[in-house]
Subunit: 1016 residues, 2 copies
Amino acid sequence: MVPAADRRVREEKSCDITQIQLSYDCSFIFIMAVLCISFLFQLLFCLAFSLPTGRNSICGYRSCPPTNPSMLNVHLVPHTHDDVGWLKTVDQYFYGDRNYIQHAGVQYILDSVIDQLQKDPARRFIYVETAFFYRWWRQQSQSTQRIVTQLVNEGRLEFINGGWCMSDEATTHYSAVIDQMTLGLRFLNDTFGECGRPRVAWHIDPFGHAREHASIFAQMGYDGFFFGRLDYQDKARRMNTKEMEMLWRASESLTPPVADLFTGVLPNGYNPPAGFCWDQSCDDAPIRDDPDLEDYNVDEIVQLFLNTSYRQAAFYKTNHIIMTMGSDFQYENANLWYKNMDKLIKYVNALQAKGSKVNVLYSTPSCYLQELNLANFTWPLKTDDFFPYADDAHDFWTGYFTSRPALKLYERLSNSRLQTCNQLEVLGGPKSTSGPFGEGDSDTMKRAMGVAQHHDAVSGTEKQHVAYDYARRLATGWAHCEVLVRNSLAVLSGSEAPRVFCENLNISVCPLTESSRKFSMNVYNPLARTVRWPVRLPVNGSAYSVTDSTGKAVDSQVVPLSKSSKEVRRNRGYAKSELVFQVEAPPLGYSTYVISMLQDEPPASSTKPTATRSIQNKFLKVTFDDTTGLLSSLTNLETNQTIRLSQNFYWYNASAGNNEESRQTSGAYIFRPNSSDPFVINKTAEIQISTVSSTVQEVTQWFSPWVSQVVRLYEGRRELELEWTVGPVPVADGLGKEVITRLDTDIKSSDYFYTDSNGREVLERRKDYRPTWDLKQTEPVAGNYYPINSRAYIKDDKHQLTVVTDRSQGASSLYNGSLEIMLHRRLLYDDFRGVGEPLSEPGVFFDGLVVRGRLLLTLTPPDTAADVHRPLAQGMVLQPLLSFQDGTPSVNTKLQFSGLQAALPPAVHLLTLSQWDKDLVLIRLEHQYEAKESKTYSQPVTVNLQKLFSTLEVLGASEMSLGANQWKEDMNRLQWNTEKTSKPHPLSAKDPSAWEVTLNPMEIRTFLLRVQQLQN
Amino acid sequence: MVPAADRRVREEKSCDITQIQLSYDCSFIFIMAVLCISFLFQLLFCLAFSLPTGRNSICGYRSCPPTNPSMLNVHLVPHTHDDVGWLKTVDQYFYGDRNYIQHAGVQYILDSVIDQLQKDPARRFIYVETAFFYRWWRQQSQSTQRIVTQLVNEGRLEFINGGWCMSDEATTHYSAVIDQMTLGLRFLNDTFGECGRPRVAWHIDPFGHAREHASIFAQMGYDGFFFGRLDYQDKARRMNTKEMEMLWRASESLTPPVADLFTGVLPNGYNPPAGFCWDQSCDDAPIRDDPDLEDYNVDEIVQLFLNTSYRQAAFYKTNHIIMTMGSDFQYENANLWYKNMDKLIKYVNALQAKGSKVNVLYSTPSCYLQELNLANFTWPLKTDDFFPYADDAHDFWTGYFTSRPALKLYERLSNSRLQTCNQLEVLGGPKSTSGPFGEGDSDTMKRAMGVAQHHDAVSGTEKQHVAYDYARRLATGWAHCEVLVRNSLAVLSGSEAPRVFCENLNISVCPLTESSRKFSMNVYNPLARTVRWPVRLPVNGSAYSVTDSTGKAVDSQVVPLSKSSKEVRRNRGYAKSELVFQVEAPPLGYSTYVISMLQDEPPASSTKPTATRSIQNKFLKVTFDDTTGLLSSLTNLETNQTIRLSQNFYWYNASAGNNEESRQTSGAYIFRPNSSDPFVINKTAEIQISTVSSTVQEVTQWFSPWVSQVVRLYEGRRELELEWTVGPVPVADGLGKEVITRLDTDIKSSDYFYTDSNGREVLERRKDYRPTWDLKQTEPVAGNYYPINSRAYIKDDKHQLTVVTDRSQGASSLYNGSLEIMLHRRLLYDDFRGVGEPLSEPGVFFDGLVVRGRLLLTLTPPDTAADVHRPLAQGMVLQPLLSFQDGTPSVNTKLQFSGLQAALPPAVHLLTLSQWDKDLVLIRLEHQYEAKESKTYSQPVTVNLQKLFSTLEVLGASEMSLGANQWKEDMNRLQWNTEKTSKPHPLSAKDPSAWEVTLNPMEIRTFLLRVQQLQN
């Protein structure tokens, strides 16, 4: 599959501090040779001037310190946990700005650690967050860079995890997680080569752990995974049964051990044991070992350490234990830590001469992991996930599943834009980044998205000013992408006419469409199959003609702007109506629509309150209750199945912490309703039929001045759209509110419901139940909430009601046939997890943020549900990008384009298409169905890499690990023994040929392609 | 004067990183040569292995960075201010222990600064407190010591001030100050040689500044002095008139420029200007100079710095200004400071290319001082002092003059003991430190006393637990000295019989005297003249015989123990009576008294309340008022002069900060009475005549259960003793109390009174007046308080009433003929200067500390007053040491000894006699009279150094600076121009010969003597 020339390059990457870079011509080899020689000279120079004397490049497991098999080995792991934004922005954290908010300055942490590592070769440090390391590295002198490289090559500084951030696991989408990991790992690889490749995944802070994350880590080649937070009941049980360390089988579809990940629960979160915190931020006693000074305390400290070690060892299987010596933003003055740990090691180990059996050493997670592996034990198997997370009986971290819903949507939308930007960078060629509209790039957006995946970013658990910063970064990222997209579309279409993007279509604002009498609209489709898509443009005319790329007329209507949209947009736009029509765009390509105003009077209002019974298209019918105005039933006209469906909006009264059992409040992290019964916003909805047209049928429901909904059925579509608008949530009554919508059906779902994991595989949930331990339920609502990233469903033998969402949210099923989704939260108290603010987002014009979103409902038999919800959800994630040009397109404009020779098979999703380097493109192909969910699609499917692109010739292809930092064939993960499982595993199909790659259910394959643009 | 051999050694001290050490034989030269060669090899080794490349030893002024004469030069002085105890003990500060009290760890500061200095040769740092540096240095590896030495030799690390601590100026005695400076400077000299010699005195924190301190600094060879705190009115005036820098003429007796000291007031205390604090303890914005990151702020910071510089420059004369870049315990993570200062310097100076006239540089106080000197300006002259210090209208720092009176006495007593210990180490020879009683040393006590001089130690402004630590250190120091003293007295007396010291004689507790029927008492006299001294021993017999060294009987009486003493001692002793007699001891020697019990019944109580009119001896008569029981008059029977004298006890009601004008409370630092009128404890005193015997006459006055006094007249003495006992001060009424005693006389003192400066020269004070500015008095009591260390007086043409005190106290004269002294303070509120505790000292058995002390009153004509109070005060400072042996002395015991061939002339005080090194002894001779205070003694006086000692032969002598870290002849201080003064200065007399040294009034001369013990 890989041309011979590739192999040659790869075999020659012996000078492994340079990056893995594929190359295919001799000039590159020459440059590398020169670099190698230059490096050797630099190394000689270093050695000659007695920089850290170097054993060269014995990083990884080979660099691990010796341990003592007859003793209890205590692995001290010096580390810092550097949030990529939380109470301060990522750049404020980097510089140590605004220390009055929180004392934290990452630039100084890295300065200090590098200094201290040089003082003793035994000292170790791990670094995790590449977003920070990248900032720091760029500011260093060559000589510092040389020193750091040497430390990395000797395993004294080791990168762990290594993504751009330590991503949140509950509210992130796998696509963005893979991207952010790739971004971080690539920087490390480019900078340090093989010695910079992290061996261990390290999610010490995220608030619960997703199975899909574990699967991703396994596929990225990580040998193990450590985390700090899990349910307190689960932890207690695992400590008692010595199941703190286990093998996590993270996929039901992938053949073991592909998605198997050794997983360890850290003993003490990620903090040092009590009494041993020697950071400047701690107050523990330093080791005072000068007998001439006061308070000599060596004996006392050593004894405490021995006791602590034995106590901890009782919960783990092997004669190795790990102690995390660090915490949030620690090591700004690393000397304090190392000086005292040096003494600790010296005095504890000195006791061995007197018979002590404790051996303490500087170590790293990977060195600890290696010892566990060498122990060759059989480890317990874990197949579910670690949600929800509770750290006490009334302290369920299930609020952040929904916190900051607008940021959560913006992050999701930004992912879509980034994928579009990446694709157009590839399709448009070099002019994309430097073309008629100037210099554009996708890197800014990649970094912004990388930062946004942080577990205090998209999670919504940051301070308000930091949330603004994340949004600003995404906007800046998109501004850079906009230039790139303009350039690329200019190349592809042959038109350099100005092109505008309308950021605010969701609030019906777009200056061009509002004012122009004739304009064209480019619809770019980032999916690898043709999509149809309803479009709503704010306009001021009363009739328009719309024609597609072939000049064919498209059915369209002008409908009056809804009252809710007028309220939300305020004075940012002045459209009176919306032009509604459906568009279609080819795979990985665009089509162009030309819109001309026919009549510029305002339309007569067609909206009047009417008692309606139902709306329907050819696939779906939905009815409303005469009395209440609520939904009453849903029918799939194709399958001829109907369910009773009632839907309404409610709010839980957020706990103010005044409960006798616990002072816990609801806050950015924690969901704690004061009562299990939510208040209904309104038992009845005031109904308008907004529109009944050939394109769309809409019913608007008003529940209160701050809750409304449009129930919408587009022509030719199989999903019912519920567009909800919530806010500003009133809190003048002194009550924090957590707003949900609840769907009540006659589906016999019993206690079961289903939620996706990071937008990929679906896990079964059961009320008041955990698969691996005997749950004592203490919060009947909050303790049953789970994160959903793209969908949730309930089902019985006949019916499956699936809800596809536009962003991550919290969801539950508390009653038979019921599914509830939390939409918005406005709270009055901080919840004591550090953020120090109540979650009460300000609005732009109002007191409190108004949020609008969409739920897409499908009703199907269970066994064909995935056939509908998989593509529906991918379409929600990767949305078409609309761009507009005023006037008529010039005659030479290419109005339609597809980057693919043909649409990919329905089971295949083009997850990544991104420029990697000159002539190199990163591509990820994903089988988007689970092994058993679709009779039609849960089958191996083959794609020919050479026949993918319409405008690119593929010259070579090399498969890589999911993180793209290792050749697939070089992946050689540690192997682990686990309990025998009776489940037979599906055999995966093989690739038919070098160019034809086969995808098995849920498989993602990552390739570096060497490409060249075809001359057209 | 110095033998030729000495000169040779001294001329050969070219290898000046070794210490100045006098030597007189060739073996020493040989050792030095070997050391020199070994050092050169080490240096070659260093250079070869590329430790900081070295220009070798161009420290001092030559190492100063270049400045720009056409610009405003801003000297950034990186510094840390490390209190030798305050909120934490000195060792807690050193280690960084108990950071929950205050984040501070000096070990890390020095670690960090040394690391950072190595990164850039332009960086500078000054270090001040040798007590800390000494602790740190001992723990360093040889390689670190080599690096530090190199940094010192290049002037990159510079020692400033360099005493063991930064001493308090208000409550210290000059003897202890000179000792602690000598201790610190010697360590620096021994360790670093000439490059370790501080050029600048640096008292940035002490709360007011004593003239005697300035005089001491001048005589120690300092070229200049900088401080931070002065009266806010004074500072405002000096800023307006550009008199922030001046020449301080610090003695009225010494010939200028001997005691002239260039003195600068720092612009901003000792802190950096607002916005430029980059320590980890600060929150100022770091310089964010990466344009790719958020919040680039270089332009803004540079502009702020330029504005700040110009604003500051307006208050100073030259085109150089100094900025103190540091504060309390800063630089624990020096990288933060240096990284940002590097950037500041880079960006500010980069503007010079665009016409900016500001040049900013790393500098030191000495480099700044050198530039001021080179400016060759005429500087204003200052002749008074900087007391009292107020930082606002109602914020007079005059409470600490008295705070912690028991600690203040214990410190003073410890000085006396240390001098005794030092002397006996010399007199007893090598066996003193290693003899029959084990290993003893004076170093522990020297260091304890060094620490106790700190401006939060003897000042009383530390936390309670720290005050205990200071006392504990002094006790430990004395325990080491006790061994030395036992050994030495064994050598001198020929008796190795066990010897005990009675620590608690002041509360009438001494187990040996209480129980023994026969014992001997050794009275060691540390003064260079014979003293007579009353002794009071707790006993249980009713009659004793006392014989002196010659076997002659000594008049003695057994008097019943006072009620007050019984209350104070509680169950620590059980004596029923005290044996009272007077002893005499020869100069620098001892006499031995043998005491035998004659009768062991308890004496019939001889005490009964009687109406008494007066007590008198042959020199003094004192009368009491019949009605009130208070003193009514004092008569000097020799001079036949009588004054009306009334004395009583009062308390000021401490402000609780509830005044409208100011929230300021009275506290450890601040004295702020709620009203100017103190409350009288009692208008009448209950009187007992305790004793009328041939040795002593005593009248006990009871003012209240917590205030009593014994008025005492010993036979043959010219002073009246007032022994006051105050406490526990009751505060159950919710009122803080500041207890004074006030002497009211008919002396026509008007507004004038006189106080000593650190126990040496006396300054005239005037109520509501400052010599150098037009005072706006805002606190009529507190604003007139001044520190007294040994004495205060009021006078008119005929009478001078002098009060000699046993410790430092605050005093004032608020009325004509009146003198008041504050004795004790018990307060209920903290005063917001950082200590964070109300000053309310717990007692041992009682609720609140009981304090006992003595005031010695003399009445004389003004022109002979000094003849009495000078020796009286020296006797109070250097008290005889009593030690006891049970039973009868063995026949071979030498019962009497004098270390001197003869008493020194009355004007001469032996200030220091201390072992310096094997065969080397440090001696300081002091003329203890001011130039104009005594017709008899204010004359030059000559002493022959070879004829001093009775048991030591003096082989050589070299005169040194007062701090003993420089040859006198090498002293070459910077010269300064000042205003012409009309006062003619006395010409000082010259030395008649090499061995005969002449002392002019108030002169102290310091010599290193080479001695050998005479075989007796």
